[in-house]
């Protein structure tokens, strides 16, 4: 039963990857010619034609597609038009930086968001609740490019306590991570709060109180795990977006990650690089979704059982 559950997940994941690659492939080919964009305006037509041949862009679309997918299956992700290196290398060397920033932002999103949501639900209707939800709306509605620039103005220009851009130390990480994390924290806080309120009003919470459990135990053992289920869904989506999600923030803070690479690669029609990033993003999404399914089973015994019965 467990094996067939896994198999169906893997198959579904592969289909998702293929669709993502195909979509990126088509959109990029249809939306402009990379060669004319790459070369100066006054390049003679015969030279343009030579370059098109080198990159295989003179062939028909189906043929290009089959060659590309065939290459992927052999581990060949194509070459970057810009510097001629393998696209996979170009992308992978950016991944560690993006993961550092993405993980830091995700931790801020989860810890601040869930914490604020739980406290707001427990203190419903009090000034604490009001403050937490005010913060949530602020974080949710503040565009992160604006928030990032305001942070730079305050912490880097006015008070000169943090570096404005770049990477290299923990101090460099603070502002981009906070900017990245705070927007997500707002929506997570609201989700957590409403989910917690719903659970807190369940009769089994009344039971827990009537049987004399301490408040901390009621909240940590009975309320939070039951309230976590919808929150995990949203957190999973955010975790899946870690690789691609920081496009704006990486640009604002000149953080040398995948997001920044994606912006330049799209602008320059660096087909192989864009496709590799899309594939990487789709892969993380698939993996995270799988992870979320596993966590569901652990959080909710009803779902674990349903999964086993149908699979």
């Amino acid at each position: 039963m467990r094996a067939s559950f896994l198999l169906s997940k893997v198959l579904r994941g592969l289909v998702t990857l293929l669709l993502a690659v195909t979509f990126a492939f088509l959109v990029l080919r249809v939306s402009g010619d990379p060669v004319t964009l790459m070369l100066p305006d006054d390049t003679p037509p015969d030279i343009i034609e030579r370059y098109r041949e080198i990159y295989g862009l003179d062939r028909t679309l189906p043929e290009q597609y089959l060659r590309y997918v065939g290459g992927l299956l052999n581990g060949d992700f194509g070459y970057s038009f810009r510097d001629g290196r393998p696209a996979l290398d170009v992308v992978l060397e950016r991944v560690p930086q993006t993961l550092v920033l993405g993980t830091a932002g995700f931790l801020i999103t989860s810890l601040v968001g869930i914490g604020a949501g739980i406290v707001a639900a427990l203190k419903r209707g009090t000034p604490v609740d009001l403050a937490a939800m005010g913060f949530a709306v602020f974080g949710h509605s503040m565009p992160n490019f604006f928030f990032g620039i305001v942070m730079i103005l305050l912490f880097a220009m006015t008070w000169r306590v943090l570096p404005s851009s770049g990477t290299g130390s923990f101090a460099h990480l603070i502002m981009p991570a906070v900017t990245l994390g705070i927007g997500g924290a707002g929506s997570i806080a609201r989700f957590t709060r409403s989910s917690m309120l719903e659970v807190l009003h369940q009769p089994f919470m009344r039971t827990a109180r009537a049987k004399g459990l301490k408040p901390a135990r009621r909240v940590i053992l009975h309320a939070v795990p039951n309230a976590a289920i919808p929150v995990i869904t949203v957190l999973g989506l955010r975790l899946g977006g870690i690789v691609a999600g920081a496009v704006v923030v990486e640009t604002v803070f000149a953080w040398p990650g995948v997001g920044q690479l994606l912006v330049t690669a799209v602008a320059q029609r660096d087909l192989a690089v864009v496709q590799t990033i899309v594939l990487l993003v789709a892969l993380t999404m698939v993996l995270v979704n799988f992870l979320v399914d596993v966590v569901y089973g652990w959080l909710d015994p009803r779902m674990a059982r349903a999964g086993k019965e149908t699979a």
Partner: protein, 275 residues
């Protein structure tokens, strides 16, 4: 375990009233005095909205009355939420209407029973686990402690709730519509179980229900509630066979007759009364 005595005096519970008293507050419970004797079952009947559930929560100490006194074995409850109040929970337990929602869906039922005992530092872990096994056996769920709520039938769920309530060796159990969510054959099983347990452990029940048949079957004495007040009280058999208050008579008349013969007899009676 021996039954406890619960005395309620002049209980009033108001709800709402709006800001600055724009609306008159609802008098959910309006001057009720009751005495639950050790080892006895006191039935509370009344239509929905008559304040019987509010009274039950006040009696169990999980809601504070606007005014009036609740004495458990001669002592008032500690302030709600305090450590002393939590310790008192062991002596008075509640069984609610919907068993499927009264248990945490994420924790096996055995764990939830054990947890209650752990919260009151009863026995050591091995002793508690053995006790969980005994309790489940007692309510007819032997060996099902590892199950989750959704893996039990409605009747089994309510048995699990009862085992959980009993695990703390309470003197008093408040049953608030404890069998209303179950179908009739299961109701009978649960009521017989409650009666067995009462005889065995000398528990006192405050049995709240809108179902007169059930209350009649289980109660030693009965109080009839209407709009927050008690309109009639007395020995269960006496109240049911010779109701004095018109509201009690109306309630009894509303119970569907068990046989056509009984229905015809009732109709004849009401024709005589109106004639």
């Amino acid at each position: 375990m021996s039954g406890g005595e619960l005395v309620l005096t002049d209980i009033v519970r108001l709800y709402g009233g709006g800001w600055f008293g724009r609306h008159a507050p609802v008098r959910a419970v309006d001057g009720v005095s009751l005495r639950l004797e050790p080892g006895k079952t006191l039935g509370i009947v009344g239509e929905s909205g008559s304040g019987k559930s509010t009274l039950g929560r006040i009696a169990a100490g999980i809601e504070v009355p606007t005014s009036g006194r609740v004495l458990l074995n001669g002592k008032p409850y500690a302030p709600m939420g305090s450590a002393a109040w939590r310790r008192e929970r062991a002596s008075i337990q509640v069984i609610w209407q919907d068993p499927s929602r009264a248990l945490d869906p994420r924790m096996p039922i055995g764990g939830q029973i054990e947890e209650a005992m752990a919260a009151h530092r009863m026995l050591d872990r091995a002793g508690r686990l053995a006790r969980v096994g005994e309790l489940l056996e007692l309510v007819g769920l032997g060996g099902l402690g590892h199950r989750y709520v959704h893996q039990l039938s409605g009747g089994q769920q309510q048995r699990a709730v009862i085992a959980r309530a009993l695990s703390l060796a309470p003197q008093i159990v408040v049953c608030d519509e404890a069998v209303s969510a179950l179908d009739v054959s299961v109701q009978a099983q649960i009521i017989n179980l409650l009666n067995d347990l009462k005889a065995r452990f000398a528990i006192s029940y405050l049995f709240i229900s809108h179902d007169l048949g059930v209350v009649r079957h289980i109660s030693d004495s009965v109080a009839v509630m209407r709009e927050g007040r008690i309109v009639e009280t007395g020995d269960a058999q006496a109240v049911f066979s010779a109701p004095r208050h018109p509201y009690t008579k109306a309630l009894l008349a509303a119970v569907p007759a068990a046989t056509p013969a009984e229905r015809r007899a009732r109709e004849a009676l009401s024709r005589m009364e109106t004639a």
